[in-house]
Symmetry: C2
Subunit: 157 residues, 2 copies
């Protein structure tokens, strides 16, 4: 199985980008991993929140295949402990589907099309994070999950 | 009221340190804020987890005053949304006590003395983070709380 993280909007903070790249390079030691960044919508300041969400949604949908396991990251979704998240990923791995896609939305959430396409809704926290922080936290948790599945000493329960 | 974050162990990743400093400098625009870093325990590799926890606990206790509101950050603690966390901070502010102290433990958790001293146990997430990531996330959430209390546009519900 391959893991893909789709996120909306480029990462503007160089320090967050450095952290994300660090965890991404570590993840790639364990599994095929390919992040996709949906570009920021042009002229978004003149658009309504609904329009931005719809436009982002279209670009996300273009990157999804019908065979994907699609997960949207949403603070109202199901929360996992790090260990449960690792076991959940392992379950997806043995399920035989080719790609697990975790989607981090823009600041206004997901379009109806993306929400309808999602197989799962997962929450990193009840707290709200910027999309940059969410991507950093998610990549660290994917890396942590890989170390848990291999029985490596990075994680302490 | 003053806010203090006590964390155990120095921050080794320069990119996380940059992020923490960014949010700390922003928090200081709103409130008196003073982070305290408990140094790593010496020769910790030759010590048991329990001993490390005890030693860290002693150093944390030395930095607490009887008048403090003490909060330990623990993934099994109470979870807040970002908005509820901001309202909770405001409630502490009007309570008349001088200092709100949020404590991030080491990898093995808190000693009994620190756990007994805590007035509250708050969770950033059910997921486990390194102490470095926890400090980054907590400082971002304190900054976010300040912007919510002032009605500033950083946070989107």
């Amino acid at each position: 199985m391959e893991i893909t993280v789709i996120s909306v909007g480029k990462i503007n903070s160089s320090w967050i980008q450095e952290g994300i790249q660090l965890f991404e390079s570590r993840i790639k030691r364990y599994i095929k991993y390919s992040p996709i960044i949906i570009p920021d919508i042009r002229n978004s300041k003149s658009l309504s929140k609904e329009t931005i969400k719809e436009e982002e949604g279209k670009l996300i949908m273009e990157n999804l295949a019908s065979s994907d396991i699609v997960v949207i990251m949403d603070e109202k979704g199901k929360e996992f402990t790090s260990r449960d998240f690792s076991e959940w990923i392992q379950k997806q791995m043995v399920g035989g589907r080719k790609r697990l896609v975790l989607v981090i939305g823009g600041p206004y959430g997901f379009s109806k099309a993306v929400a309808d396409k999602a197989d799962y809704k997962i929450s990193l926290s009840k707290m709200t994070f910027t999309h940059e922080m969410a991507k950093l936290i998610l990549t660290e948790q994917i890396y942590r999950a890989m170390t848990i599945l291999r029985g490596e000493p990075y994680h302490h329960d």
